[in-house]
């Protein structure tokens, strides 16, 4: 039976390649049908905003890559409620359907995976 992996993405979308490279781990695992989930935490929650215009920075819009997650079988996408609140962001209107979790729920989430990678 395949081991499940939770990928925690903590970097803002244009703080270098980290956000893209965390997502690539998820997409690669999805391509191999591995049981994966992603959690956006701390500045990582900024990756989920759909009102962004990265072209102004000559950067790629990660939204297209994020939207590929369910296509690659990564359907469990979570976002930290506290991280959103801290940044004055709502849990609705995000670029991709993500379940907002409170800290107690995040603890339970971490506990149920075989592997965790925090980028």
């Amino acid at each position: 039976m395949a081991k499940s992996m939770l990928i925690i993405s903590r970097q803002a979308p244009w703080a270098g390649p980290a956000a893209r490279e965390a997502l690539d781990i998820a997409l690669a695992g999805g391509a191999y049908d591995l049981p994966l989930a992603m959690l956006f935490l701390d500045d990582g929650v900024y990756q989920l905003l759909d009102t962004q215009a990265p072209a102004a920075l000559q950067q790629k819009n990660l939204a297209a890559n994020l939207q590929a997650l369910p296509l690659f079988g990564v359907e469990e996408v979570f976002v930290c409620s506290a991280s959103l609140a801290q940044r004055g962001l709502a849990s609705s209107g995000l670029a991709l359907p993500a379940q907002a979790l409170a800290d107690a729920q995040l603890r339970e989430l971490l506990a149920r995976f075989d592997l965790v990678v925090t980028l």
Partner: protein, 130 residues
């Protein structure tokens, strides 16, 4: 027990040195090291162009020596490597770049190798950041 190690920061970072010491201890304790996977800035570890000052620790050379001595499966993520200018002969030819700076014992491959190692090992231990 079987270990897989992932290295996300370059050879001059303290994290890389810790990863190497951990890898050495894994073998010294009689455990197996299935693979060391280099991702993000960790791909620079495989560059043959690193020149370390005489009064500094040459962790990149130490990694190379460790990989060779113990015949470790040392995989460097190709996408991360290309982005950072770490290319083998094949990629240098493919992209018409003037120099290749990655060769044996390092191998370029995809993230699938990280997942495979994570699936097969008893523990995946990652090193990076600082």
């Amino acid at each position: 027990m079987k270990f897989a190690i992932a290295v996300y920061s370059p050879a001059h970072s303290p994290a890389s040195r810790r990863a190497l010491l951990f890898a050495q201890a894994v073998l010294a304790q009689g455990h197996q090291l299935l693979r060391v996977f280099f991702y993000q800035d960790g791909v620079h570890t495989a560059s043959s162009n690193i020149v370390t000052a005489q009064d500094e620790t040459d962790t990149a050379s130490q990694w190379r020596a460790f990989v060779v001595e113990h015949q470790i499966d040392a995989v460097v993520c190709i996408a991360a490597a290309l982005r950072r200018g770490v290319l083998d002969e094949e990629e240098a030819r493919r992209y018409q770049r003037t120099a290749a700076n990655l060769s044996q014992p390092w191998q370029l491959s995809g993230l699938g190798q990280l997942h495979e190692a994570a699936q097969q090992a008893d523990r995946l231990v990652s090193f990076g950041g600082h």
